[in-house]
Amino acid sequence: MSNKCLLIPSGFPRLPLKNGIGRVVCQLKRITIKFCKSSGSSQGVRNFIELDLLDFTNNNPEVVIYLKPRRHHSPVVISEYLNGERHYMNFHNFTRDNTNKWLNFLRTRVGIKTIRFRKLQHTELPSIQGVWSPFTNKSPELNITSFPNEKFLQPKHLPESATERLRKMFERQKLKESEEMKMNNKSIEVQQ
């Protein structure tokens, strides 16, 4: 139920530029942080800039960061990605830890628009041993035979009937008797 949604566009999982086949390239290009120097709503963002921003930049040298002080505005972060996507996010009344967490979230993204996934997997090679069909690993006997054929008219696994079993018992008995007769004859010959 939860995965059905009419308004959100749907699609299949893809990654830009074959990312991850060689090394993983950080897709985040630049971040602009707009904040107020005085108002309380950007207190956490200001704390982040004072204490954690240099660590963030040292850990992620491929990301450019702009700081824009804007008077009496709530803090806003705009992130831009290599595929040209822009992501706008409001950081109103965020704490220092919260800003750290959400900036890391923006960093780990690739910049794909949020869509509903129809499958949670993507393969270039759907089959390696060949696609299965009902005729794989079957003997080609069917191709040669002409129909109607008595062998294929019968059910595959027919249980043994009572008459059949009786017949077999009778035959076994006959064999036994004949052997006994032979033995008797031999013994008679030896005696003679």
Partner: protein, 152 residues
Amino acid sequence: MAINLRIIYEERRSRAIIEKVNQCMTDNVGRLFAVIHILGKQYRVVAQDIILIERNWPPNVNDKLIFEKVLLVGGSSFTLIGKPVLPKNIVEVFGTIVHKDLTHTKIRYFNIPKERVHNLNFVREELTYIRINDIKVYPKLNVLENVEYLRK
């Protein structure tokens, strides 16, 4: 006597099959596929595949993983089926985590009809993209060191 003969025959046959599979694994392996088990789900996987995992999962971007719960490996000429998992010295599946994101907002609605019980939640779960880098197979089928459960 007859039973012993049968056992010897079967042993010889199985040894021949094992030798043949080992040769298949050494000569020209070609493309391999595997079935791996991650967080309660099974995925059929080839090198350069993408897998999504919709759950809170600690591995972060750029981490390299080795998937050890391999249920099945196959090439164009052979398949190995674990019972239930293949031993580590035969197969390894390598992957990297490329991208972490959130899913779209899902609606979780629960109600009991004719009673005033209803619960509406909007949820965005964590999404992790895994890229499968390589599947490696080691031709050690006849070498059964430290593997007790295969032969008793």
